[in-house]
């Protein structure tokens, strides 16, 4: 098997291309965008909020079964942007890992440990030919005992960083530009400001005003570190506050 240029295999499995790139990883990023959904996460002074679009493509679908926001433990949330099937398998494994951690070590898995675990698993898929990378960008949120509210983003390449605010999906770059402007002054958002920044960022970038049923919002707060998905009533309150503010 002589492979001068990878013999075309560099596009099919995660081996290097002549320019030192991993095409399969790059294609995995494209798969995240192809899902057609944009997500946003914002970290405030004592809370973290993530928002994503809730697209129900068929009226016959049961909308309660359409979700990208998953509790991994009572205190850790995961927002998976990209292919739903890959998202579900990642969440299953993450839940298992977090439960084993709690059993083995006697305390709750911290946010950054979960993010690192997800990222390390993603890295394995980029190095071993037998499994393709997952087409998911995972945003992990929780309240860390020592460091306060934490938001991490893990991508198919195996990178993970902590973020003050971030985005993933179709309009990722536009959203990041919007958020960079908002966070340039290093503001310390209250809980309401955090949620409203996240929702208004999504509205601005997608250039549409949402109904409460069209978005999913998940939060963790220092005074209530449980990961919670907001109800439609709570989302409506925030949406009203945003429109009154404008």
């Amino acid at each position: 098997m002589s492979r001068g240029s990878g013999g075309g295999y560099d596009r099919h499995i995660t081996i290097f291309s002549p320019e030192g790139r991993l095409f399969q990883v790059e294609y995995a990023f494209k798969a995240v965008k192809a899902a057609g959904v944009t997500s946003i996460g914002v970290r405030g002074k004592d809370s973290v909020c993530v928002v994503t679009q809730k697209k129900v493509p068929d009226k016959l679908l049961d909308p309660t079964s359409v979700t990208h926001l998953f509790p991994v433990t009572k205190f850790l949330g995961l927002l998976a942007t990209g292919t739903t099937a890959d998202a579900r398998t990642l969440v299953q494994q993450a839940r298992n890992e977090a439960a084993e951690f709690r059993f083995k070590y006697g305390y709750e898995m911290p946010v950054d440990v979960l993010a690192r675990w997800i990222a390390d698993k993603s890295q394995v898929y980029t190095q071993h030919a037998y499994m393709r990378p997952l087409g998911v960008v995972a945003m992990v949120l929780g309240i860390d005992d020592e460091n306060g509210p934490r938001l991490f983003k893990c991508d198919p390449a195996g990178h993970f960083f902590g973020h003050k605010a971030t985005s993933a999906g179709l309009k990722e770059q536009e959203a990041i530009n919007f958020l960079e402007k908002k966070m340039k002054t290093d503001p310390e958002f209250s809980y309401d400001e955090t949620v409203q920044t996240a929702i208004s960022a999504l509205q601005s970038v997608l250039q549409e005003d949402f109904k409460a049923s069209e978005i999913e919002v998940g939060v963790v707060r220092k005074d209530n570190p449980v990961f919670r998905v907001l109800s439609t009533e709570e989302i409506d309150e925030h949406l009203t506050a945003i429109s009154e503010r404008d």
């Binding site: 291309s17 790139r21 190095q127």
Partner: protein, 235 residues
């Protein structure tokens, strides 16, 4: 390693006798952020650029320079996720040595074992080589040492070396400035000047990382404030 369906090596010889996957891995390293190391008479310094993709990234959550043992540190150029795997394996190997021999692992041995892992991934079935080069800095009974390990698994001891985007300019700069009797403080200044040479934008304590080890045999990563002090001295 790998599924049985992939029990053949993905890194194979080309007709001219080259292992092209390793060469591509080196290209991946060459497009990574610049990092460098300098061995002084009384210590070693390693440094790297820390350019983050956005101001929204929390820079306190990122540390590129990692401790392998209390007296050995490492920095990489290339693919961050791959470096995490190597750091984890190296730490485990160092611990196992310590458990068995009841003494800290010598730098050369740890480098050799890490390099062996990297070589494995160029020959085993169903895996690709690591897309990182490592600079390992340590201080043991043999004194201060600096090693560079490449994706092929080959390693050499260096007086000073650089890797990543700006490697040729950085190495030329280092060749001019390096002296055998250099002390650690000089080495740190030279490291900063070398990074500054190819740096795009304004260099600061927040967008570079520096790790040092001296005769106290304790590897430490400098804080942003400490780096700012050095930057002012260099001005």
């Amino acid at each position: 390693m790998g599924d049985s369906q992939y029990s053949f090596s993905l890194t194979t010889f080309s007709p001219s006798g080259k292992l092209v996957q390793i060469e591509h891995a080196l290209t991946a390293v060459g497009s990574g952020q610049t990092s460098l190391g300098i061995k002084a008479s009384n210590g070693v310094v390693i440094a790297t650029e820390k350019k983050l993709p956005s101001i929204l990234v929390d820079e306190t959550s990122v540390q590129k320079i990692q401790i392998l043992t209390p007296n050995i540190g490492v920095v990489y150029s290339g693919m961050g996720p791959d470096s995490r795997v190597l750091v984890r394996k190296s730490r485990k190997q160092a611990e196992q040595y310590q458990l068995l021999y009841k003494e800290p692992i010598p730098v050369t041995q740890l480098v050799r074992e890490t390099a062996a892992v990297m070589q494995e991934f160029t020959q085993s079935g169903g895996v690709r080589p690591f897309g990182v080069s490592l600079l390992v800095a340590g201080y043991d009974d043999k004194g201060p040492q600096l090693y560079q390990v490449d994706p092929s698994g080959s390693y050499f001891s260096w007086k000073a070396s650089a890797m990543g985007k700006n490697v040729s300019n950085a190495k030329t700069f280092l060749e001019k400035r390096y002296t055998d009797d250099m002390e650690l403080e000089d080495a740190i200044h030279t490291a900063i000047l070398t990074l500054k040479e190819g740096f795009e934008g304004q260099i600061s304590g927040k967008n570079i990382e520096i790790g040092v080890i001296e005769a106290d045999r304790t590897f430490r990563v400098l804080t942003a404030a400490q780096i700012e002090d050095y930057l002012q001295e260099v001005e």
